[in-house]
């Protein structure tokens, strides 16, 4: 969690631009705290961070915020556009608002948290990271997700978990309809423990770990079946 004090370093997007902010962020020593002000919805802020720095973006931000990051903890005080935390490797990104499409797309590690809703294709092609959304997600969540965990406090839109591999989705609200090869599975004690830990980590304590729906792969698309020969 990022804590802000008056003595924090301040980077003004209006003054130094996106490249200026990003190059300054990459030069920071581990443990540094920094405020990024006047983000103005600009894209690509705080991408490619590679140190354990605490960054707070104060306002709405655009596409690919915090993407490709390692070790850093990032908070955005506002909504974000497409692809927040895309390809995140480790560390965390927390959005204090809504996230547009493809949140945590292809993320390998770390934790992406969205306090509002996330739009379509959240956790698309997830590769090991965790996405936690306090609100609801749009259609095609976890499409092609290969590994990792998705926790949704609200409802999931159409096509949840389409062509999902080894990733697991927990939904606190309603599941609209499942995508191809996704299925609802029984909740085990290990699932409840995992969701409980994630709630503690995110603070999304409106979610009841005993009352989530587990969605995972039915594994019917893993191998070619001669039954499907006619489809080709």
């Amino acid at each position: 969690m990022v804590t802000v004090t008056d003595s924090d370093l301040v980077l003004d997007v209006h003054q130094v631009g996106v490249r200026g902010v990003n190059s300054a962020l990459r030069d920071l020593d581990p443990g540094t705290r920094v405020r990024v002000i006047n983000p103005g919805g600009r894209h690509n802020l705080a991408v490619g961070l590679d140190a354990a720095v605490d960054v707070r973006i104060e306002g709405p931000a655009g596409y690919y915020i915090g993407g490709l990051g390692k070790h850093a903890d990032l908070v955005v005080d506002g909504p974000v556009g497409w692809g927040v935390g895309e390809n995140l490797m480790s560390g965390s990104v927390r959005v204090r608002g809504d996230a547009s499409q493809s949140a945590a797309a292809s993320a390998h590690g770390g934790l992406v948290m969205v306090e509002g809703d996330a739009s379509l294709r959240a956790a698309v092609s997830l590769k090991g990271a965790t996405l936690a959304v306090a609100g609801s997600v749009g259609a095609y969540c976890a499409f092609l997700a290969q590994a990792g965990t998705v926790l949704i406090g609200g409802d999931a839109g159409a096509g949840l978990g389409d062509s999902i591999y080894e990733a697991v989705v927990y939904v606190g609200g309603r599941v609209g309809d499942l995508g191809t090869d996704a299925r609802i599975e029984d909740l085990t004690a290990a699932d409840v423990a995992a969701v409980t830990a994630l709630i503690a980590q995110t603070g999304f304590d409106h979610i009841d770990p005993e009352n989530v729906t587990r969605v995972a792969s039915a594994k019917q698309l893993y191998h070619f079946s001669t039954h499907q020969h006619g489809a080709y």
Binding site: G40, G41, G62, P79, G81, S100, Q101, L120
Partner: protein, 299 residues
């Protein structure tokens, strides 16, 4: 890429500020489409005063001559045809029926009609979107509804005629972010029914399709659902008529669209940053229309 912004003002107190609000929104989507731009404005008293017909024209080199020619064709005094310059575009209005003004304009050589209606002015240009807006003095415009588009050309050349909006029916505007896969097929089908085209642009095909559906008697929502059934490709569309404002997304929601709604206004933009300065945005209901959805608001 391409950028779209649109605004429908329900609160008449805001209507004097339509141009300045849209201008601020447009400034936030310039990077999405830096090569050309266009604007459709409903109800501006300079471009389209009440009680007159308005036609938007490309290719006007001598406004005085065109005004005189239009007046002669319409049986009016030359002073009754008023020309307003807006960069590459010239907007003419006259106290006649819209159909008569359009017919007169089409009768003049070297002109392209890019929009017409009782309330609508369409302004197009190439170059930076804010330069196009400045040439039209957008910030000073007023009215109840407007849409603007910034274009990153993919399907056809960067030309003024290829800029959006495509306005091919009275008080009808269509702007498009995306690309259609089967536009050539639909173009051929429309041509076979007698529809003519002004450009090679794929988005013009969608505009012609909607205009044809409307003239077949379908309402705007039905026409847009027919479009969704017939067109293959990527699209976020904003389609406006003199009192309606519609947002359409393709079946997989490939292109961005954000809607914000308050009791005072409805706005659509490609990115949130274009909505961030609107009055009362903090209380607005902000959402992304889902795949294959048609949303429509009428005044």
């Amino acid at each position: 890429m391409c950028g779209i912004v649109g605004l429908q003002l329900r609160d008449s107190l805001l209507r004097p500020h339509l141009g300045s609000l849209l201008s601020q929104m447009l400034a936030q989507v310039c990077e999405r489409g830096p090569d050309s731009a266009g604007i459709g404005i409903y109800g501006d008293p300079t471009f389209a005063p009440p009680g007159t017909a308005t036609v938007s024209l490309l290719g006007v080199s001598s406004p005085g001559t065109v005004a005189a020619d239009l007046a002669a064709a319409l049986g009016l005094d030359a002073t009754q045809v008023v020309m307003t310059g807006a960069g590459s575009t010239t907007v003419a209005h006259a106290p006649v029926a819209t159909s008569a003004l359009v017919l007169a304009a089409r009768g003049l050589s070297d002109l392209t009609v890019i929009g017409w209606g009782d309330d609508l002015a369409v302004i197009k240009g190439v170059g930076h979107p804010m330069a196009v807006a400045a040439a039209a003095d957008l910030a000073a415009a007023s009215g109840w509804q407007a849409v603007a588009h910034t274009r990153m050309a993919t399907e056809s050349a960067i030309t003024v005629a290829g800029s959006h909006p495509f306005s091919v029916g009275a008080d009808l505007c269509l702007v498009h972010n995306g690309s259609f896969a089967n536009h050539a097929t639909i173009r051929r089908e429309l041509k076979a029914t007698g529809v003519t085209f002004d450009s090679d642009n794929d988005s013009e095909v969608a505009a012609r399709f909607v205009a044809a559906a409307l003239s077949d008697g379908h309402d705007l929502e039905k026409s847009l659902r027919l479009l969704c059934e017939r067109f293959d490709g990527f699209y976020t569309l904003v389609v406006t008529t003199h009192d309606s404002f519609a947002v359409v997304r393709d079946a997989i929601a490939c292109k961005p669209a954000l809607v914000a709604e308050t009791p005072r206004w409805v706005a659509m933009a490609s990115e949130y940053r274009a909505l961030a300065a609107l009055p009362g945005i903090e209380q607005a209901r902000v959402f992304e229309p889902g795949p294959g959805e048609v949303h429509l608001w009428s005044l």
